[in-house]
Symmetry: C2
Subunit: 331 residues, 2 copies
């Protein structure tokens, strides 16, 4: 029911998407792409949909949107211990889209695809009367039987997270149209850091092999540390004791919490971190830390798994702490 418009779908694909496909580009000219996992490997598949006005601001830089769209899927693959193999993109372009926008989007997408060696292998481009909507399905490989699940956490395992927590949620506030008072009190460098962490999450692709070797369970933190830990523990039928003071915050996040102490809760529950939350048998933890450091990533111990299924005990400055709102709700 859409009308003709130039340039057509084929020109767009050739101009903007073929460069991201590299030699994997069969799926851009045929109806379908091929995936050939190496012998003894199996494919991990993950999918995320992003909608303008829900998952990003429609006027965010298009390169940032492209980069993040693939990044959040690569983050899922990394958490499962998988090496990226490729991805499929479906893109619904809104009325009034421009080639400039598409060029920027493809540029950002291509940067992330290149960094992760994860080519575009196929997709579909359509028009929509609504907001720009995109869906990425990404593929990675793991040795057969070695995908890192959510469900493998065992009592006494160490609970750990990569990087720093809360920057994305604080960055969303610092970047969005309704900036709270504390944003104005932040040094410009801190505001810029948080905004960058929100716009440009760094999928921890380099940690995949270490997770596969040492982790009992893992997932990426996209909906908030507190809520995502609850999901991991539910899948593992376990509980945990977490020391909130051990949750790593960036200097910029610490500045924000200093300006408004209530922001600590946002940091712990807010989401958009794209760090890895994992559990590791105590005896493996030193090797895991070493492997993370070798990959250029910090890994902080924040607590331990307990046998009390469904019970997560948080302490802050030695006192119990509970959360009214666990994590970002999709509905």
């Amino acid at each position: 029911m859409a009308g003709p418009r130039s340039p057509g779908e084929f020109e767009l694909i050739a101009r903007y998407f073929a460069p991201i496909a590299g030699r994997a580009g069969l799926g851009l000219i045929d109806d379908a792409a091929l995936l050939r996992p190496a012998r003894g490997y199996e494919l991990v598949v993950t999918a995320d949909a992003l909608v303008a006005g829900v998952h990003f601001f429609a006027d965010d830089p298009p390169a940032s949107i492209g980069r993040k769209a693939l990044g959040v899927n690569l983050s899922d693959l990394a958490a499962k211990g998988a090496r990226p193999d490729g991805f499929v993109l479906t893109l619904a372009l809104p009325t009034g889209w421009t080639e400039d926008w598409l060029a920027g989007f493809a540029q950002g997408l291509g940067v992330m695809a290149g960094e992760a060696d994860c080519p575009l292998i196929g997709g579909d481009t359509v028009s929509t009367n609504g907001p720009l909507t995109l869906s990425i399905t990404a593929f990675g490989s793991v040795p057969a039987g070695r995908m890192v699940l959510r469900s493998g956490a065992k009592p006494c395992d160490v609970v750990a997270v990569t990087g720093t927590i809360g920057d994305g949620a604080l960055g969303l506030k610092a970047h969005g149209p309704d900036r709270p008072a504390w944003v104005g009190q932040l040094p410009e460098a801190d505001r810029a850091f948080l905004t960058d962490r929100y716009l440009h999450p760094q999928p921890r692709v380099a940690l995949a092999a270490a997770l596969q070797a040492h982790a009992s369970a893992a997932m990426d933190v996209s909906d908030g540390l507190v809520g995502d830990l609850a999901k991991l523990l539910a899948a593992s039928k376990a509980g945990a004791e977490i020391d909130l003071d051990a949750v790593p915050l960036s200097p910029a996040a610490r500045s924000a919490v200093m300006a408004d102490p209530a922001l600590a809760e946002l940091a712990w529950t807010g989401g958009d971190d794209y760090e890895i939350l994992c559990t590791i048998p105590e005896g493996e933890f030193p090797s895991m830390v070493a492997a993370a450091e070798a990959a250029g990533l910090s890994l902080a111990r924040i607590g331990r798994v307990t046998a009390e299924a469904g019970n997560v005990r948080y302490t802050e400055a030695g006192r119990p702490r509970s959360f009214a709102r666990g994590s970002f709700a999709h509905f």
Copy 2:
């Protein structure tokens, strides 16, 4: 940025989507799903996005939308000679969605998944301020190196199509809100048949093995026979001679063309057929017809491939015929 709402994503998944996943449901509770192609096989991947108001009417029966959404992807897999293995669904639900709608959608999706033995293996459900938008990535297997491409057509190969052409495009007119005069002249049974063909395309899953054995090139007809043949021939660097009188029309489509002879062009160019267009070496054609018949499908010879790259000569009643508008344009 979406607010909380009950039932939550997890309840929705358990209630409506877990039954479609069957034993393949890991991806519905973990962040990712696993695919293990059998030894010696590789995976064919295809993706289609559908937007309410563009690819279907927002008030179409939800079960029809669910059935067709998976069906169009299964049609792509069949054309590539692949046996379905599973699919991933991302679903952006609009403001005001209802559980009734979702129940109907899941029911139709489940019927198609069950018929094709193609379970849901993962996905993502989000909210949108725009129209309902969904994206399906489907997976199938072929013996390594045996995917049927668009690019394999050779001069003198037979050009053939399954089933009947034009029902979907005519059905869209018969079903849509602005019904042309000819729709009123059709017997009710014919109108119902065409509408059903539009709403409920039948992916030719049963033809996959025969295509793999006998076809030199294939694709499904989604954007119109004339336009899709042009794409297949472009990929194959070949031309064709096509006898339009040999293009199979259903009795209902013939009634419509009788009522308005201009509708023949719509049938040939309109799209939404989800039949298989293929080329077959002359010596293989009898075996291909027999295999199609064994699968309960008719296969009509409509012309032959020529060496004149880019030149498709159509004849109707022995006279040359050309087309101003090749096929449905996505932009």
